[in-house]
């Protein structure tokens, strides 16, 4: 068996040319320890002066083998691992995975739980966008933005904490709904946040949107044409910044996104500034979605499926009835066995299309867990965007792709 690796055809370079090139060019290792690579990513840059000739991202410094781990844990045990992929928007990851497992099992959560799932997903999107905005602006040099953004993110994390007890790695979603009641103060907290946040966001926009330095740093930088964006499989704001209307929430709605009224913001030029505008508008739409959820949500009703072998029984009944105690025992000790098959569930994560591809062989342990993380795929466009840009633009480009290395390396 031979494993021949196909290489690109080598380009003939004359000795004289090679000499001058090597004298003119400098290889700069950006990372793995660098303040603006958002974690441990390495970008090997070939510079000519400060202009980038070649750019090669080197990944894997945070690779933990999440997919392999998924093949050794039972379905419900894998949920905490999804927290640790994209850790700035953990509820979204939980949501995508749980939706995939529920689809595999053929169950779905009651209405009230679904609304809460949407609210938490949108709040996670806001939290993720706030981290993006803060770090992106910080990379470009706007020092204060990061602190303002983290101030508002704190409110969201407080909501998460009230809801599930954890702030960052939430492990929030459960099979078939929520097994614990919603805390009483939670709706009030969400409403307060929805009232406060638009004012705060207006502040950010006064600081950045028409700032001439911000404009000169972002306008016309990192342009991706629509055709290239599709070819690079970009999703999320990177794709919509180039003017292509693909938002999983609108295109192939999951949960109750088809009941919501919201706009999908689109850019026109496909540069860093357009992606910034798209994400800013997305935050406004998220607030509107949360408000609609709060309005439409039934005040009463079950939070979790009760009579399903795939769902953990209600905590109260476990202590009272023998059947539920047995079911609980089996669910915890043995896990549940979905039917044989394979599903692919895509959700609109804050960074793009987050896909979970599960293959089940009928045992309580998934046969294959595949995480299609949006930022890993989006990051491929970095060499394309960085071609001919300045060294200072690379940090703006990394910021605009919006990566979290836990999610890129998995």
């Amino acid at each position: 068996m031979s494993l021949e690796i196909t290489q690109g055809t080598p380009v003939e370079i004359s000795e004289e040319r090679a000499l001058t090139d090597s004298r003119r060019q400098m290889v700069l290792n950006m990372g793995p320890q660098h303040p603006s690579t958002h974690g441990v990513m390495r970008v090997v840059l070939t510079l000519e002066g400060e202009t980038i000739v070649d750019c090669d991202p080197v990944l894997g410094y945070l690779h933990r083998g999440v997919e392999k781990l998924g093949e050794t844990h039972r379905y419900s045990q894998f949920v905490p691992w999804t927290d640790r992929t994209d850790y700035v928007a953990a509820p979204s990851n939980n949501l995508g995975y749980i939706l995939a497992v529920e689809k595999l099992c053929g169950i779905e959560a009651p209405e009230r739980a679904t609304y809460w799932r949407m609210i938490m997903g949108e709040l996670a999107r806001l939290a993720s966008h706030l981290v993006w905005l803060g770090t992106h602006a910080l990379d470009i040099g706007a020092l204060s933005m990061s602190l303002y953004c983290f101030r508002e993110r704190e409110l969201i994390l407080d909501i998460f904490e009230t809801f599930c007890g954890a702030r960052l790695t939430t492990n929030m979603m459960e099979m078939g709904g929520f097994s614990r009641p919603i805390p009483e103060q939670l709706p009030g907290m969400v409403r307060d946040f929805c009232n406060v946040f638009p004012k705060m966001q207006a502040e950010y926009e006064t600081l950045l949107s028409s700032n001439p330095i911000w404009l000169s740093r972002t306008r016309g930088v990192g342009v991706i044409e629509p055709e290239a964006a599709i070819s690079y499989s970009l999703t999320g704001a990177c794709l919509r910044g180039s003017g292509i209307n693909y938002d999983v929430r609108k295109a192939t709605p999951y949960l109750y996104y088809d009941r919501m009224e919201f706009e999908v913001p689109l850019g026109t030029r496909g540069d860093v500034y357009d992606r910034y505008l798209v994400r800013m508008e997305e935050m406004r739409q998220s607030i509107s979605i949360i408000e609609q959820c709060m309005e439409q949500m039934p005040t009463d009703g079950p939070l979790a499926l009760t009579e399903s072998p795939y769902v953990i029984p209600e905590h109260d009944n476990v202590m009272k009835t023998a059947e539920d105690m047995q079911r609980h025992f089996i669910w915890v000790i043995k896990g549940f066995s979905p039917p044989k098959g394979e599903v692919y569930q895509a959700i609109e994560h804050s960074k793009g299309e987050l896909g979970y591809y599960l293959v089940s062989d009928g045992t309580p342990i998934p046969y294959r867990v595949r995480l299609r993380t949006p930022d890993f795929v989006n990051l491929q466009s970095l060499p394309y965007m960085a071609q001919g840009a300045a060294l200072a633009d690379v940090v703006a480009l990394i910021g605009t792709i919006d990566i979290v290395l836990g999610s890129v390396d998995r």
């Binding site: 894997g60 959560a109 690079y232 499989s233 292509i244 192939t252 569930q345 299609r372």
Partner: protein, 204 residues
Amino acid sequence: MAEEEHTGGPADSPGRRIWDTGYWGPTVPEEHPAIQAVREKFPEAYVDAVNFRDEMTLRVERPALREVVGYLRDDPSLRYNLLSDLTAVDMLRLRDNPRFDVVVQLYSIPRRQRLRVKAGFNDGDPVPSMVPLFQGANWLEREAYDMFGIVFEGHPDLRRMLLPDDWDEGHPLRKDYPLRGYREYVQPGFENPAPRVRSRFRRP
């Protein structure tokens, strides 16, 4: 759609489902336009089409994978123009031959439909690369090479993606690769390698 009462019960009960599946096209393979088109166009490459949870999976022969996907991308009535995902599955424990499946998730932005295309192959068989069709397949294929050792034919730069360049212990997502690797590693501060514990969660 919102008029219908949502039951919240198991999906087999009537009512609209959250993971509603019009987005994968008709549930019967014979009615699916993409399946029909591929059967007509590539009769010798078509293997079968499976529907599970309303998701349509098209299985084709390995050598024709690129032609089929290219046709699905370019045909004006199909236009599966976004490569959502490309990965592989090691079917070692489920069947004998072929061992691997390469799984291509396609999405059509204009038609809002998904389609999964699969091709089986054995260890060492070259799989046609998708990079000539989709730039975005580049890293996905590098990752599949890294994790499964699949050689993609026509890939411009097939290197390891997530593991180090000098990783010499094989491809970790293969089913015969032990969870903790082949080698024993001595942890810093210890003289002997940590004892291998049997995983609590053995596959039954």
